[in-house]
Subunit: 133 residues, 4 copies
Amino acid sequence: MSAKTIMEYRVPYADTDQMGVVYYANYFVYFERARNELLREHGIPYAELEEKHGVALPVVESYCRHKRPAKYDDILHISAWVDSASGPRVTIYCEVRREGALLASGHTVHACVDMATGRPARSAPKSLEPLLA
Amino acid sequence: MSAKTIMEYRVPYADTDQMGVVYYANYFVYFERARNELLREHGIPYAELEEKHGVALPVVESYCRHKRPAKYDDILHISAWVDSASGPRVTIYCEVRREGALLASGHTVHACVDMATGRPARSAPKSLEPLLA
Amino acid sequence: MSAKTIMEYRVPYADTDQMGVVYYANYFVYFERARNELLREHGIPYAELEEKHGVALPVVESYCRHKRPAKYDDILHISAWVDSASGPRVTIYCEVRREGALLASGHTVHACVDMATGRPARSAPKSLEPLLA
Amino acid sequence: MSAKTIMEYRVPYADTDQMGVVYYANYFVYFERARNELLREHGIPYAELEEKHGVALPVVESYCRHKRPAKYDDILHISAWVDSASGPRVTIYCEVRREGALLASGHTVHACVDMATGRPARSAPKSLEPLLA
């Protein structure tokens, strides 16, 4: 398992809905924020992955278990890590916590696409290897 | 299985991202749009469920399989249906199609919460029964 | 003044915030939905403007007056029209109404950009003329 | 003029559109993020304003001048400050910069609403005075 990346995020009004809690789809944006930091911390910012390596990681599957609601002005800790990549797929796990308490957890599965051909790459790109060590 | 509800939706620029396709989290907003119509067509608009029956249906689990990308200006057909409700949980299935082709499919699992007590209801509310017939 | 285009829109939970009303930034997405229909009704869908004419209309200024709040499940009527285009700028006016009552009004100012050069076009493209008649 | 509050923000994929830049409505979410920090730094977090003082500050007018596009993964500096409050209205100014360069600037005008009565307060609440010094 790769090291876990953790980032801090303050919930704006924009993320809430009329139930007074964070709207459920926004957790998937939180996951993306943490994925970005995960890649950056491992030396492969996603922008670079696209521009230098010609590889995109579109989401092919997304899942979230919503346990407790996050609220306006909460400081959240969003973490992301990789467990394994089998063949051309990468699964990134994420958790959202507030003062240690788990609010939501889930994962996204990513295809590795060669941007030149638009076709799946045969395996996770070498530049992702640091993540899988 | 309940009848399937299908609604039409035109993709705005707002829903896209720089990959030129609909950003993945937005499919969960599409699912919500279709759920709303599903409940309305069965005579129990969600607003009424909250206001008259004092029951909320917060999302406790959400899943999407992203098969093909939707794009700006696409006319999508988003469908929703219910398969069964076991105990106090309701699972709503959704699909997003463009000219018949399946772009995304998934589901959300909803708790039934008594808004007066904030506690789970013992079973799916009677007002949801038409959906489960 | 060009003919006014009016479209219908049902407010999802996603658009609301914890004040129980539509979050203010979402009115600008509503404006975009109406702009799209305005262009389409005049025979120049925006996608075509970009692809066939090589012209983009990025927003350079946006304004909204928020008079009354829209709420979850409201059916809104969003209208858009053009008053005039002076030189290379186009101003599109928008209104959001519920059962006739004005909820919000505003406008966006668009530059006309030649996508090949990335530079401002000298004037509003001919394909927009039907809008200005 | 009150002190300017500046916060840092990293642009996620979620905020971009297919033009490869931040979608224009998202600048108003950026403005909100900076307003939140402005109030917090002056000792009156907005959540507290609502809960303890019973005062809400709904947006009645919003404006943005979009000068240069922000992009995915940019680190933005979003600032907010107050110039004056005349009667029951407060205007908050905002700017979005990247490495010093101005990308967008604008403001929001807020009504001060007494949440108990739902009516406009007669003047900006005392708790806002530190902001206006």
